[in-house]
């Protein structure tokens, strides 16, 4: 299966099989041979080339969370359909975390440039400014200043700028 790491790196990962405690995993062209031993209280010891790692994992929505000691990893399945969808949906400005909309710098109908600040969201006493990733027209403002929003909530909808009709089929990468 195709997974994307939190770093953005995409991996083709497959559990080839296991035999007792022995596990074989394919990563792209490479194979990893490991031994896995459960640990009381959760998690496991994964031994690779004689080196032992204390590992824990869990699922959150479609993601797989893994911890190796204090270090955390997140793997997200790469879904072809979703990617394409996201290409089209780059015209939505969404909340990167739950928080409060502090400020909206644009109004419907505004033409915005790449990098132009659109909204400020506050979470954990910290302000994050959300900016346009490409030139666009503000199609719809979906929230009001002061409103609490959840992670992923759509704040602003954008439509392509007047002069970019030719780029519609090649939406900007996110």
């Amino acid at each position: 299966m195709k997974l994307k790491r939190e770093s953005g790196e995409e991996l083709d990962l497959e559990l080839l099989g296991h035999d007792g405690a022995k596990v074989r995993v394919r990563v792209g062209e490479r194979q990893i041979a490991a031994e896995v031993q459960a640990v009381s209280g959760g998690g496991a010891i994964v031994t690779i080339d004689g080196k032992r790692f204390r590992v824990a994992s869990a699922r959150r929505n479609s993601s797989i969370l893994v911890a190796v000691g204090p270090r955390n990893f997140e793997f997200e399945p790469v879904e072809e359909s979703r990617r394409q969808h996201r290409g089209l949906a780059a015209t939505e400005i969404v909340a990167p975390m739950p928080g409060k909309v502090l400020n909206l710098m644009v109004k419907e109908g505004d033409v915005v440039e790449t990098g132009q600040p659109l909204a400020v969201i506050e979470a954990m006493k910290m302000e994050t400014t959300l900016a346009a990733e490409s030139p666009a027209i503000v199609k719809r403002i979906c929230v009001t200043a002061g409103q609490m929003v959840d992670h992923g909530a759509v704040l602003i909808e954008l439509s392509p700028p007047p002069d970019s009709s030719g780029r519609e089929s090649a939406p900007p990468e996110t």
Binding site: L13, A38, V55, A56, A58, S62, V66, E74
Partner: protein, 504 residues
Amino acid sequence: MKNQTIRKLLVANRGEIALRIFRTAKTLGVKTVAIYSEPDAASLHVAAADEARLVGPAEAAKSYLNIAAIVAAARETGADAIHPGYGFLSERPEFARAVAEAGIVFVGPRADVMAALGDKVSARKIAVAAGLPVVPGIESAEIKAVRSFTEEHGYPLLVKAAAGGGGRGMRVVADDKSLEAALEGASREARAAFGDGRVFIEKYLARPRHVEIQILGDEHGGLIALGERDCSIQRRHQKIIEESPAPGLAEATRARMIGAALSLARAAGYTNAGTAEFMVEGDKFYFLEINARLQVEHPVTELRYGVDLVAAQLTVANGGHVSELPAPRGAAIECRIYAEDAEHDFRPAIGTLLHLNVPSGPGVRFDSHLAPGVVVGAWYDGMLGKLICYGEDREQARSRMVAALDEFTLLGVTNNAAFLRAIVASDAYCKADLSTHFIEEHFKGWRGGSESDDAALVAAAMAAVGTPGAAASLAPASMSDGRVTPDRSPWSELASFELWKSSR
């Protein structure tokens, strides 16, 4: 507690510090009252108290900052004392005043002392009058005055908000060109953040350490210092690693700093626990500010001195006397676990805690309200807990911290544990090459090592077997064959490594 008058203590705070204060209160036979906001109903600090009162919704302004509701909760429960913890209302003179006016003991300095020290300009004046060295600076942001200051002291200089804290309203000015814009920007930011646009000017120190002195005063003129803490390791002007003693600090400098802190506390009429913060370069030190409350990092002092600072605070609040302490012993280090992404500008993280391994053993203390299921939201400070290690010397404390962080796992909320581990294990930290630029100098753009990548890939591949889109319920063999499997772990048996419920 001698002369006990405090019988019931309300803690106007949440999380680890509320829990920590309740633990001490319990050892003293003092009854406890928790306050909580709606999302904190299941929090361990609420569970730890003898009584608990809901004070408002998630938003701090309506709950943990809601003076009227908190004082009302104290009245209703018959609490005769309030401990503010740190953060929230802990340094708000109007809170100390409201508590005192309600006839309730405020566990901290008097409101007027807090007010005088809370304003940076006023605190600086008191410090100068008490003979403390301060960073050369002027209290005016008037452009001519600033220019004549720079003629004497040169650039760079620092613009700071008088009412500020946490780095907001703070600008480093490198040269005359950017001076005017910086003054205006800082003032604007300060006004927006604190409702007070006053700024002041200081010489910018190139490579200072942050060292602070813990003090404790009673109402009878008794005043002691409990040594120092080095808190140089900061990101975004916020401490993440603290230790005591401050490595490499000359004994004479330490002694002079302690003397300065005591002079200032005496001049200000300071009572209860407080901390005088200094910038140190070589054998020179400069007063920064007084934090008129218990510090986050107080446990490193507790471990070195073998004292309970919260118990001492309650003794003093009860009208008791401070007593001289035995000499400190060994060394202690604290690492703050934050919900943040150290690989991406320390941006705050949120989530639900799914799995937790807490280290323990000789010399290891973990102060935290964490437990599986805890939801780390965006409402409050992202500090999840404090790992504190004691050692016979710095090296033992440090190596225990490395080992403890290796045992630490927190799954479900992105956090800085691996980053802290990298710092504490680094050569720069071993050598105690400390300055407030430590992270900038040694860990800029840090990324976690790749040594554990393959182990993570194996785990991910195993976890992925119950592919997304498969049934929500992936009951493993162990669940249906008569064994009790109390923990939802993907590892309880190799053959049944999928134990979670996907949450769709």
